[in-house]
C-alpha cells in the first residue's frame, strides 16, 4: 500500500518537491523557533555591558583571522572544563554576539574567560611570535598586527549595523564610535570620560599594545581578548554545579 502511494508520488516532480520541503522543514522549525519564544533560553543579566567600538573592531579582527577555527569560546557544563577555564558559559554572555564565536575545535585552549588572565604585554608578545612565550605552541605568528593601523573611520557604520540586528547601541554610541575607539587606547586624552560614561566604569582604557603614537590592530585585538568573559558577572554568580565526566579509570 505505502509502496503504491510512493509509486504515485514519484510520478510528479512538483509533488515530490513539496513532500521534500515538508519533510525537511519540521526539524528546524521545532528546534529553532522556540529558542526565540521560551524566556528561559537566555538568562537575565542586568549588568551586561556592550562591546566598545575598539573591542568590536578587535572582535572583527578575531573573526577575520579565523581564530575561532582553533579556539572555542564556550566552556561546557563539565567539571574538568570548569576547573580548567572557569565557570561554564551562559547563553546570556553571547546574547549580543553577531555572530557567536563558540567555536567547534580546541587546537588551542578555550578563550571564553581569557580576559585579564594575562597582561597586555604577554598578549602582544604572544601574538607577535607565540613561541617566544610558549615554546611548544603551534599557533601562527601575527607580527603585522602591531604595524597595521586600525581602520576607525567607519566604526559608526559598524555600530549602526549591529544596532539593526538587535544590539542596543544608543545614538550617541553610534555617533561617537570613532572618537571612543581612539580614546579607549589613549588614556590621556579628552575622550576618556565619554567612553566610561557610555560603556560603563569597568571599561578598560589604556594603550593595549604599549604604544600610544598609533592606534593599531594589535590595540583592538588585545582590547577584545581582555574583555572576554568580563562583560557580565552572571556566570560567576550562577550556582548550578557542573557535571562530572565519566572517568576512564573508574
Amino acid at each position: 500500500m505505502s509502496e503504491f502511494f510512493h509509486r504515485k508520488l514519484e510520478r510528479s516532480a512538483i509533488g515530490f518537491v513539496l513532500a521534500i520541503i515538508a519533510a525537511a522543514s519540521v526539524g528546524g522549525i521545532v528546534e529553532i523557533a522556540p529558542l526565540f519564544t521560551i524566556d528561559e533560553t537566555v538568562e537575565a543579566a542586568p549588568d551586561m555591558r556592550l562591546y566598545t567600538p575598539l573591542e568590536l573592531a578587535g572582535r572583527n579582527i578575531y573573526v577575520r583571522e579565523g581564530c575561532y577555527a582553533c579556539h572555542s569560546q564556550m566552556i561546557r557544563t563539565l567539571r574538568d572544563e570548569v576547573d580548567r577555564y572557569g565557570p561554564y558559559s551562559l547563553a546570556v554572555e553571547s546574547k549580543n554576539d553577531h555572530p557567536m564565536l563558540w567555536g567547534s575545535k580546541r587546537t588551542g585552549p578555550d578563550l571564553a574567560r581569557v580576559g585579564d588572565k594575562y597582561g597586555d604585554a604577554w598578549h602582544v608578545a604572544h601574538l607577535t611570535y607565540p613561541r617566544d612565550v610558549v615554546p611548544e605552541s603551534n599557533m601562527p605568528a601575527y607580527r603585522w598586527l602591531a604595524r597595521t593601523e586600525l581602520r576607525i573611520d567607519d566604526l559608526s557604520e559598524h555600530l549602526a549595523a549591529q544596532r539593526m540586528v538587535g544590539v542596543p547601541y544608543t545614538d550617541e554610541m553610534v555617533k561617537d564610535a570613532r572618537a571612543d575607539a581612539y580614546a579607549q587606547a589613549n588614556p590621556d586624552t579628552d575622550g576618556v570620560p565619554g567612553v566610561m560614561q557610555r560603556y560603563g566604569d569597568e571599561t578598560q582604557v589604556r594603550a593595549f599594545d604599549g604604544v600610544t603614537s598609533q592606534l593599531t590592530e594589535m590595540d583592538a585585538l588585545v582590547a577584545y581578548l581582555q574583555i572576554l568573559g568580563r562583560l557580565t558577572d552572571a556566570a560567576h554568580k550562577n550556582t548550578a554545579a557542573p557535571e562530572t565526566s565519566p572517568q576512564p579509570l573508574d
Binding site: A24, V26, G27, I32, L35, N138, M164
Partner: protein
C-alpha cells in the same frame, strides 16, 4: 563551447556577462576603501573574460536541430575538469594547513598565509569546489540519462556551472583577504551569498524543467536525492546567511541571529550541509553509477524509499548534537541526540542497499578498481554514519567534542565516502562523456585507489588516536583531585599524529593528481568508441523542437 549555444542564447550570455561586469564595477567603486574593492575588480574581470569568450565565438555557425537527438554533455565535461582542479587545489591547501599544525612556521610573514585564513580555503575548496562541481556535473548527467531527455536548453546549465565557480572563486579569494563571516562552511560574505542564491534557483528550475520532459513515468531514485540536495541546501543557505551588511561599500556584514540562536542556526546549517550536500547529493551519485558499473539493479526499492525519507526527515533534527553541554537549552540537545541515533537506520539502509547491490558482482569489485572505489565508499559511508550517531551520544560527545576525533570523523566521511564515490563515478563517467572505450590507464586507477585508501586510513587512525588522547588528557585528575595535564601537555602529545595526518593527506593529494592526469590523458587519447544507445528518447526530439 559557444558553438553549441543558439543565437539567442549567445545574445543572452553576452548580456549576462556584461551585467556581471557592471555589478563588479559598481562593487569596486562602492567599496574603494575596503577589501571589497578587490572583489569588485575580480568580478569585473570575470565578467569581462566571459564576455570575451562569448564574443569570440559569437559568429560561429549556430547548431542545427540535429543537436536535439543527443544529450547535452558539454557543461558536464567542463564540470568534471573544474571539480578535479578544485580537488587538487583544496587538498593541497589541506596538506599545507595540516603541515602548519606540525610545523607552525611553515607560513609567510603575511596575513593571508596564517592557518585561520587558509583553513576555510581548504574546506571550501574541497566541499564546494570539488564536491559541488562534481555534484553539478553528475546531476546533469544522471537526470538526462534517467529521464531519457535532453537538458531543456544550453545556456542555463552553463550559467549554473560558471556562476557556481565564480562563487567559489569569490569565496576562496575572500578568505585569503580576510573576508569572512566566520560561520563554518558558510564563511562567504553577503554579496557572494546573494549570487549563489541566483545560481541555485537557476539550478533548481533547470532540474525541474528536465524532469518535466522525462520519457520515463517514474522519477528515478538518484533524482530524489539530487532534488533533496538542491532544495534543502537552498533553504539552509538562505536562513543561515541572513545578515545586514555594514554598508553597500563594505564586504563585512553582521548576521541577524544573536548568540545562542545563532549557534543553533549555524549548526542546523552545518550539520545539514553534511546531510544534504555531502550525503544526499553523493547518494544520488551512488544510486546511478554503482548499479551502472556493477551491471546490477539496485537491491531493494523499498529500502531506497525508507532511507530517502528517513534521511530527509531525521537529519534536520540532528544539528544540535554539535552543541552538547553548551549554553543551548538541554531539551534541544536531547532532541538532537535522539534523532542522531535514529538516523543510523536510514543511513545503514542506504549503505546496505549499496553493498547488497554488489551481490553477484563481487568478481567485478575484485578486478575493477573503479567499482572498488564505490564499494569502499559505501563501506566508509556505513562506518562514518555509525561513528556519527555514536559521537552524538552526550557522554561520548563530552570526550570527543573540541578534539581531533571530530576531524577524523569528518575525514572518514569526506575522504572515505564523498571523495571515493566521486572518483569511482568520474572513472565511470569520463569514458562515456568523451566517448572512449575506457580510461587512459587502468593501472593508474589502481594506483590511485591504493593511495587514496592508504591516505584515508592513515589520516583517520591518526586523528582517532590524537582526539581520544586529547580528550582523556583534558579530563584526567591527579590523586590530589587537580587536573593532571596542562593544555600544552596535550598539545605536545599531538605532534606525531599531526605529522602522520599530513602524510596521509599527502598520499590522498597525490592520488587526486594522478586522477586529474588520467582524465586529461583519456581526453587526449585517440581511442574513440561510439555508443548508439546513449541518446535521448526519440520522442524528446519533437518536444525539444518546439
Amino acid at each position: 563551447m559557444i558553438s553549441t549555444l543558439t543565437r539567442t542564447e549567445r545574445f543572452l550570455a553576452l548580456w549576462i556577462s556584461m551585467a556581471v561586469s557592471i555589478c563588479g564595477l559598481a562593487l569596486a567603486i562602492a567599496g574603494r576603501e575596503d577589501p571589497l574593492l578587490i572583489h569588485g575588480l575580480l568580478i569585473l574581470l570575470f565578467g569581462l573574460v566571459c564576455s570575451y569568450i562569448v564574443m569570440f565565438g559569437y559568429e560561429e555557425k549556430a547548431p542545427g536541430t540535429e543537436r536535439l537527438s543527443l544529450y547535452y554533455d558539454e557543461p558536464i565535461k567542463a564540470g568534471v575538469i573544474f571539480a578535479m582542479i578544485w580537488a587538487v587545489f583544496g587538498m593541497f591547501m589541506g596538506v599545507w594547513v595540516a603541515a602548519q599544525l606540525a610545523w607552525p612556521d611553515l607560513a609567510f610573514d603575511a596575513p593571508w598565509s596564517g592557518l585561520g585564513r587558509l583553513r576555510p580555503t581548504h574546506t571550501t575548496g574541497v566541499i564546494f569546489g570539488f564536491g559541488g562541481n562534481a555534484l553539478i556535473a553528475t546531476s546533469f548527467h544522471v537526470v538526462q540519462r534517467t529521464s531519457r531527455a535532453r537538458l531543456p536548453d544550453q545556456l542555463s546549465s552553463w550559467f549554473v556551472l560558471v556562476g557556481y565557480n565564480m562563487y567559489c572563486l569569490i569565496a576562496v579569494s575572500g578568505y585569503l583577504l580576510g573576508i569572512t563571516q566566520s560561520k563554518e562552511y558558510a564563511e562567504s560574505e553577503w554579496y557572494a551569498d546573494i549570487w549563489l542564491v541566483l545560481v541555485w534557483v537557476t539550478y533548481f528550475v533547470l532540474y525541474i524543467r528536465t524532469l518535466a520532459r522525462r520519457k520515463e513515468p517514474h522519477i528515478y531514485v538518484a533524482n530524489w536525492y539530487f532534488l533533496a540536495f538542491i532544495l534543502v541546501v537552498a533553504i539552509l543557505h538562505i536562513v543561515n546567511n541572513l545578515a545586514v551588511p555594514v554598508s553597500l561599500g563594505h564586504a563585512k556584514s553582521y548576521t541577524v541571529w544573536p548568540g545562542v540562536q545563532d549557534a543553533m542556526v549555524q549548526w542546523w546549517y552545518g550539520h545539514n550541509a553534511v546531510a544534504f550536500f555531502l550525503t544526499s547529493g553523493f547518494l544520488g551519485m551512488l544510486y546511478y553509477y554503482l548499479p551502472v558499473r556493477a551491471q546490477r539493479p539496485i537491491f531493494s526499492y523499498r529500502l531506497s524509499i525508507l532511507s530517502f525519507w528517513g534521511i530527509t526527515f531525521f537529519y534536520m533534527w540532528a544539528g544540535s548534537h554539535h552543541l552538547h553541554y553548551t549554553a543551548l537549552p538541554d531539551w534541544v540537545q536531547t532532541l538532537g541526540m535522539t534523532f542522531s541515533i535514529m538516523l543510523l537506520v536510514p543511513s545503514w539502509a542506504s549503505a546496505g542497499n549499496a553493498l547488497l547491490t554488489l551481490n553477484g558482482a563481487w568478481h567485478r569489485v575484485r578486478d575493477d578498481a573503479t567499482l572498488r572505489f564505490m564499494m569502499i565508499a559505501a563501506v566508509f559511508y556505513g562506518l562514518s554514519t555509525f561513528e556519527g550517531s555514536f559521537m552524538a551520544i552526550r557522554p561520548v560527545n563530552s570526550l570527543s567534542h573540541y578534539t581531533d576525533w571530530t576531524i577524523g570523523h569528518v575525514h572518514a566521511g569526506a575522504l572515505g565516502w564523498v571523495a571515493l564515490i566521486t572518483f569511482g563515478s568520474f572513472y565511470t563517467l569520463v569514458p562515456v562523456l568523451w566517448k572512449r572505450r575506457q580510461m587512459y590507464s587502468p593501472a593508474l586507477i589502481e594506483w590511485h585507489f591504493w593511495l587514496a585508501l592508504a591516505g584515508t586510513l592513515i589520516y583517520v587512525f591518526a586523528m582517532w588516536n590524537s582526539g581520544i588522547i586529547q580528550g582523556l588528557m583534558w579530563r584526567t585528575y591527579t590523586e590530589e583531585d587537580t587536573l593532571a595535564y596542562s593544555f600544552v601537555d596535550s598539545l605536545k602529545a599531538m605532534w606525531p599524529y599531526y605529522v602522520a595526518r599530513a602524510f596521509g593527506g599527502l598520499l590522498f593529494l597525490i592520488g587526486a593528481i594522478i586522477c586529474l592526469y588520467n582524465i586529461l590523458m583519456t581526453i587526449r587519447s585517440p581511442d574513440k568508441a561510439e555508443s548508439r544507445d546513449d541518446v535521448p528518447h526519440p520522442a524528446d526530439l519533437a518536444l525539444a523542437g518546439e
